[in-house]
């Protein structure tokens, strides 16, 4: 594994896009991608939670986990849940409209597997604090890109005529499949590295 910071960023963001390559965070990916604006803001909220989680995971990994490795999952999930609670309160205070638009998907960031996966991978790869941060930002940006692309396509798909039988989740799945196919093209970016 090349520990170059740029490589970590590009890899998390495009080549191994969390959503389209690892199938992480699919619930918000399909749930919130109806409207472009909401999708973008949920993306930002997710980036924020990811960055905080990454910092906390580095801290836990350095001080707590060497003494109690079996607490890894539990401690990570508690950190994530509290961060999400915090973000929820902030958004509710700053922008009640956005709070309503995100609805159930805001607390559900807790069960966004992308975030737990981020923390686990970061510990597994032994990233230091800086590398972890870059990794988190890259993953968050990648998630946001996927979400926004999907929302854009879905807004278009809504006004076009499709057979009734394919409407809904089936159509979204196939769109996601094509997007994922497109993202596989990025695998060529760093073939030399």
């Amino acid at each position: 594994m090349n520990n170059n910071l740029l490589w970590i960023f590009i890899s998390a963001c495009l080549v191994n896009n969390f959503t389209l390559y690892y199938f992480l965070g699919l619930c918000p990916f399909f749930g919130v991608s109806g409207r472009l604006k909401t999708a973008f803001r949920l993306g930002l909220a997710t980036i924020f939670v990811m960055v905080i989680t990454s910092l906390c995971a580095s801290f836990l990994n350095a001080f707590i986990l060497p003494h109690a490795p079996y607490l890894k999952l539990i401690s990570f999930i508690v950190v994530i849940a509290s961060t999400v609670q915090f973000v929820e309160m902030v958004i509710k205070k700053i922008s009640p409209a956005l709070f309503r638009a995100l609805g159930i998907f805001l607390p559900l960031i807790t069960t966004n597997c992308a975030i737990l996966y981020l923390a686990l991978t970061q510990v597994k790869q032994d990233y230091n604090v800086l590398e972890g941060l870059i990794f988190a930002v890259g993953a968050g940006v990648g998630f946001t890109i996927a979400l926004v692309l999907m929302a854009g396509i879905r807004e278009e798909a809504e006004i076009s005529t499709v057979p009734a039988v394919i409407k809904g989740t089936a159509l979204n799945m196939i769109i996601a499949g094509l997007l994922s196919l497109a993202f596989m093209g990025f695998a060529g970016l760093f073939s030399a590295a």
């Binding site: 849940a81 039988v165 089936a170 499949g177």
Partner: protein, 216 residues
């Protein structure tokens, strides 16, 4: 939704998760692990077994403790209960089946955030007796495992020309490599959902036709 009131309806709680309310094909829950690990039939089954254990144990525990869990912190409590069982599965798999554990990678640990499990705790186990919760959890897990197996088997057959590592078509078969790569997961699940929609639509048309016949 079936509201079972007496023991004779336990069977209904059990059976609904397998087909009528299948968590994957009908409710579209728990997609993240299911798309990621289903590039072969055996991985699908292993993931299904792990999820079954976690779902059944946590449903039992949550429904037994449902009177003691304060409402405000219930989600956190559920998550911690689930995380404990996942830790057990993770360590057991690592010791007993290191190969499978490596194949599934982080996705065993990600069972914690499988929305299917948390959803069942919130929607069912926290409101029902342990025995009913057990039936519900068993039904849902079998439905989930069945879906994982279907997806894994079709992807392995098309993408690798084999099932359970047994070659099916001989040497002349050109495997659809795309099916075992990530996009194949999305496409295949899309196709399966399409098929389910089609079944449902056909059923509706039949019902309407019959209603018209009765009317005339």
């Amino acid at each position: 939704m079936n509201q079972a009131k007496h023991p004779s309806q336990l069977y209904a709680e059990f059976i609904k998760g397998i087909w009528k309310e299948n968590p994957v094909f009908v409710a579209v829950l728990g997609m993240c692990p299911m798309l990621a690990v289903t590039n072969s039939a055996i991985n699908g089954l292993a993931m299904g077994a792990a999820t079954t254990f976690v779902l059944v144990c946590s449903s039992l525990l949550v429904s037994s403790l449902r009177k003691f869990i304060p409402k405000q912190v219930r989600i956190t409590t559920y998550i911690i209960i689930i995380a404990s069982f996942v830790t057990i599965v993770d360590y057991v798999l690592k010791a007993a089946f290191p190969g499978t554990h490596k194949d599934l990678g982080a996705f065993i640990q990600l069972i914690v955030v499988n929305c299917l499990i948390l959803g069942r705790q919130e929607a069912f186990a926290s409101r029902n007796t342990p025995i009913k919760a057990l039936m519900d959890a068993l039904g849902m897990s079998i439905g989930f495992t069945f879906a994982l197996f279907c997806l894994g088997a079709t992807r392995e057959i098309l993408g690798n020309g084999s099932i359970f590592d047994i070659s099916l078509f001989g040497d002349n078969f050109e495997p659809w490599v795309i099916m075992i790569l990530p996009p194949g997961g999305f496409l295949m699940l899309g196709m399966i959902l399409l098929f389910f929609n089609w079944l449902q639509q056909r059923k509706q048309h039949k019902l309407q036709a019959r209603a018209r016949e009765v009317m005339s």
